[in-house]
Every structure is written in structure tokens, then in C-alpha cells.
Symmetry: C2
Subunit: 342 residues, 2 copies
């Protein structure tokens, strides 16, 4: 997630084509940017936030210079982007940060013009993306010691591709590996969209971190054999009580960890914590298209008309979470609310 060389387009590595092809796309208009988020050209809660932040700046290059008209154009774009995906809170955080930057510029500079407003959006987007990378590195530093040597299970992709760099859960794995912990990462392929096999395995192979790919239904058997010592995942939204929404299948990993007495960690920047929601029951869960489940590698592998369930996320209750790793430190789920106030 970056700006193009001329600074006028949102530049994305198309994650739907990895690891077969490395294709970068440059987007300048609202519908293509919204579509890229909806169709997972860019995905991963922090990366979606970065794309929205840069995206609103790029779109503002075509907004009118008049501040009222600029604001109206901004509001319309913000509504469209907010309607792309419902679960990850980082999208909404990034949009509200840009809204705040705009309001601040208008309040502090009564004579501000379009150029000044665009400058405010660009600075805020850059700050958002730089913060995201810094938070990932700090999560890695705080969380590395949580991971024991041995088999580490992860689900979905939480690496450089899901953030502005380093990663959340995968960043913690990277930091632990860099600090000398002897890890073997077990990568859930993460059906239906295979973020594990396509993206996480690709990142780990690239970094030379030992790993094995497995189908999502295999981790339990490996735990029973004693091959997995800890699990670590990311989050799309964490509520005040410490419940965490993440990619579908995360809850099953957490239940398996509980059954086997294995620690289960969530790594996410503090912006993923939504203190406005009391518990995970209030998190909207995106239901995606049946074709994602009926098809494999693009090919139909089920009756064409079979009914399908396709929730994109599930909620892991706080009691199954050993620790939540943030840039502020590692907390028990029940400590978040006090930490937010302190």
C-alpha cells in the first residue's frame, strides 16, 4: 500500500494474483478504489486502513477547491469507502482520522484552499501509514518473547501484505525468528480465499523462516501429536471486553488451543480495539458470495446450486485468548478497558 511515483495514485500489489503473479495496480478514482477493497486486491485490516487513508488523499486531487464543496466530495467518498467491508474497524478509524484532519485544517486555517486541504489529507495519510509500520515493529518487540521455540500455528495473512510492513501476528513471528527463537510456522491455508497458502507461505518462504502449509482441518491433529506449541493470529476488531473478530476459522483454532492447553495470542495495533462495543456479539460479520466456497482455484467443485454459508469472520471470546499483543505491550483481554482509560 503506497502512493504511486507521481504521488497521484494509490499503488497496490494485487493480492488476489499472488503468489502466481506479482502485479501492481494504480488507482485514481473512487469506484476502482472501493472495488479493490471489496474484491480483496488489498486486504488485511491495517492495510485496508492504509488504503483508505491514501485513497481519500488521492481522490481529493479531483475535489473542488471550494472548502464546502471539497468537504461534500470528501463526505461522499468516505461513505462509499465505509460501505466496502463491515468487519475490520481500521477502515473506519482511517476514514475518521482523515475527517478529523480535514476539520482541523478548516478550523485552524480559515482561509484554507483546496491545496491546503489536500496537503492536510496527505500528511494525515502518511502519518497513518508510518504509524502502522511503527506499531507493527513495536508489536514484534513486545510479542517476540511470548512465542516458545517449536511449532507456531498461524491463520490467514497478517504479514507485510496485510499492513504497511512487517505485519501484526506474522510480524511477531518475524521478530521472534530474528531474535533467534527456533520456530517452525504451521500455516493454515485459510479457505475460502487462501490468504495462508497464497500470501503467508509466500512471505515466510521469502524470509527463509521454516514453515509448512496445511489445510485448515489439519491443525487439530498436529496439536494432538504435540507438534504445535503456540498459535498467533491477527484481528479485525477487538471489543472492550477483549473478544476478537478475525478471519473465519480463528475461533476453531482458539478452541483447539484451549483443548490442548496451548497458548493463543492475538496481535493487533491499538486502533483495532473498538471500545465503543461491549462485546464481540455486536461486531458486524461480513457474509461473502457463495461462489467463493463452491469454487477452488477458479473451478467449480460443488453442485452449482448448492446453498452455501460463507461468513468471512468469526469472533473468539476473551476467555480463549491468552494475550493481546499491541504496540503498547501485551495484555490479558480483561486489561484492555483499564489500559484504554489509563
Amino acid at each position: 500500500v503506497q502512493l504511486s511515483a507521481d504521488g497521484r495514485a494509490l499503488r497496490l500489489l494485487d493480492q488476489t494474483r499472488l503468489p502466481i503473479e506479482e502485479v501492481w495496480v494504480e488507482l485514481r478514482e473512487l469506484e476502482p478504489i472501493a472495488h479493490a477493497i471489496e474484491t480483496l486486491t488489498v486486504r488485511g485490516a491495517p492495510a485496508i486502513g492504509c488504503a483508505a487513508a491514501y485513497g481519500l488523499y488521492v481522490l481529493s486531487l479531483a475535489f473542488p477547491d471550494d472548502p464546502e464543496a471539497f468537504q461534500a466530495a470528501f463526505d461522499a467518498a468516505a461513505v462509499r469507502l465505509a460501505n466496502t467491508r463491515p468487519t475490520a474497524v481500521n477502515l473506519f478509524v482511517a476514514i475518521e482520522q482523515q475527517r478529523g484532519a480535514l476539520a482541523k485544517a478548516r478550523a485552524q486555517q480559515p482561509a484554507v484552499d483546496g491545496a491546503g486541504l489536500r496537503q492536510a489529507l496527505r500528511e494525515e495519510a502518511t502519518r497513518h501509514v508510518e504509524d502502522d509500520l511503527r506499531f507493527c515493529l513495536e508489536m514484534g518487540a513486545h510479542g517476540a518473547s511470548c512465542l516458545p521455540a517449536g511449532g507456531i500455528l498461524t491463520h490467514c495473512n497478517t504479514g507485510a501484505l496485510a499492513t504497511s510492513g512487517h505485519g501484526t501476528a506474522l510480524g511477531v513471528i518475524r521478530s521472534a525468528h530474528a531474535s533467534g527463537t527456533e520456530l517452525h510456522v504451521f500455516v493454515d491455508e485459510t479457505r475460502p480465499l487462501l490468504q495462508g497458502s497464497r500470501l503467508t507461505a509466500w512471505e515466510l518462504m521469502h524470509d527463509g523462516i521454516p514453515c509448512s502449509l496445511l489445510c485448515d482441518n489439519m491443525a487439530g491433529a498436529l496439536m494432538a501429536r504435540g507438534e504445535i506449541q503456540a498459535a498467533i493470529v491477527g484481528a479485525d476488531r477487538i471489543t472492550a471486553n477483549g473478544d476478537a473478530a478475525n478471519k473465519i476459522g480463528t475461533y476453531t483454532v482458539a478452541v483447539l488451543c484451549k483443548h490442548h492447553g496451548i497458548p493463543f495470542y492475538v496481535a493487533a495495533p491499538w486502533t483495532t480495539i473498538d471500545m465503543s462495543l461491549a462485546s464481540g456479539a455486536a461486531i458486524p460479520i461480513e457474509e461473502r458470495k457463495p461462489e467463493e466456497v463452491r469454487r477452488h482455484g477458479g473451478n467449480l467443485r460443488a453442485p452449482a446450486d448448492v446453498p452455501v454459508r460463507n461468513p468471512a469472520f468469526d469472533v473468539t471470546p476473551a476467555e480463549l485468548i491468552t494475550g493481546i499483543i499491541t504496540e503498547r505491550g501485551v495484555f490479558a483481554p480483561g486489561e484492555l478497558a483499564a489500559q484504554a482509560q489509563g
Copy 2:
């Protein structure tokens, strides 16, 4: 699994091509028959047993007429077929039944010729296949009342395709549906080979039994929402203590059921019970090729050289099993040993 119209070939519906194409193959020679078992043209523990029983008869059509030479040819074919797949015990049971039929014919008819030996193998194979169907129907009758109304989760394919008809776990579902229980079947797609999406969903749609297809990592979330009232699966081998080996992912389903207080049933013919093994730790677990996990719908969706784990089965310990449904009745796992002696 049947004999061809001329009675000289093993006739199989190629399960690797379903549900896209319905292709029947007719096999007359050892390597093609062994290959069909290895590559899952025919799969499902009881169906593999039926294929081996008919297969040995079909192969015997080319055996020498001299009883000693006939026996030697039989033994060589039996060794090859026994080396196709290690986990399901039904394969070995069927081969031993044929070996027994041959021994009996030779013992009872001192002047028996090749025609007589072939006749013995044909009769034994027919009995094996007819028994299999009858056992399935009896499992359905015994097990139907185990299933409550509501959501029933199943994993892999245990239907008519996996047996000589009706099915084991899917047969119980069929019988419950036929008896008026209002079921909605949740079908795990069952990665990597998609027996759920390709075969079980196809059978349920064909029968008009309400169903929804889901990825293997979704059942936990549906249990948390209260949408699943029971789970039922088949087995490839059950040991004396009641541990059950079945398709990879079954153990995870059992752990999820335990966590949510949901009954977990195993349905299998009595021949699946291997009293020679004390516990599931002794069951050989087949590890299959990495390409099955790296590829989806035939297309590569992971780094071409990523290491892979691909155990084809896992073992569910007796303490996670509510009941084992057989043609002799429904038993707690701990009751099997006494029942075998009684």
C-alpha cells in the same frame, strides 16, 4: 461399485470427476484397479472393501486353472491391493474374506478347478457387497433416532458413493430424514480432496435433503451461534478401546462438539472395528502428496516449493465420541470390546 454387464470387469463411478462429470470406468487388470484405489477413483472405507472383493474376482478370470498357480496369482494380487491405502481396515477385511473363501473352496472340494475357485470368489464378493448395503440400512434404522431435529454437521463423504449404497453416517442422515426428522445438513467441504463439496453435497441435493456447504473452518462459528445440534461422521478404522480414525478434520469436529456440548456420533459397519489394535495410536495414518494441498481445483495456489503436511486421516479418541452406530446397534465406545466377545 459393481460388476460390469458382462460380469468380467470392476465398474466404478469415477469419484474424482464428480460432480462435474458422471463417468463410469471398467477395469479388468491389477494395476488399473490398484491405481483406482490409490487415486481415489473409488474411495470411502466400505466402498474400497467392495472394490477389492469384486476386484479379486475379476482378476481371477485371468488366473491359471491349476489351484496352486491360481493361489499364487491370488496372493500376488492381494499383496498389491493391500499396499494401496493403509488406514481403512475394510480393504484388509475384504481381502482376507476372499482369501478365506478360496481356502474353504480348496478344502471342501479337493478336485476344484479354476472355474470353481472363481465361482467361490464371485459368491464371496457378492455376499460382501450385499452385506455392506444391508449393514448400512441397519445402521440407518438403529441410528436415525440419535439425530435431533436441527442442524447436523457431517465431514467427508459417507454416502452411497462411499459404500455399496445408502451410506454409513450419511445413511443415518437419510434414514432420519425419511423418518420425518427435520434436518438441515451442514456439509464440511473436506479439504484437500473435497469429498464434502463434490460428493456429499451432490448426494444430498439429489435426495432433496436440505443442506448447506461450508469450508471446514466455519463449523466452529456455526456451533457458537447455536446452529448445529449434532455431528455424525464415518470411520476408516475403530480400535478395541473405541478410538476412531477418519478423514482428516474429524478430530477437530469432535473437539468442537465437546467444547459446545454437542453429541458426536460415528457410524460404521462392524467390520470397521479392528479388535487387534488396542488404541488409535496403533493405526497407520496415510500421508498423501503435497500437491493435493498446494493445488485448488487443479491450479497452483501456493508457492510451488512450500513444504506441506498432508495427513489423510486423524484419530478421534473414544472420550470425544458420544456413540458408535453399527448394524448391531448403537454403543458407547467402551462397550465395543464386550460386544465383540458377546
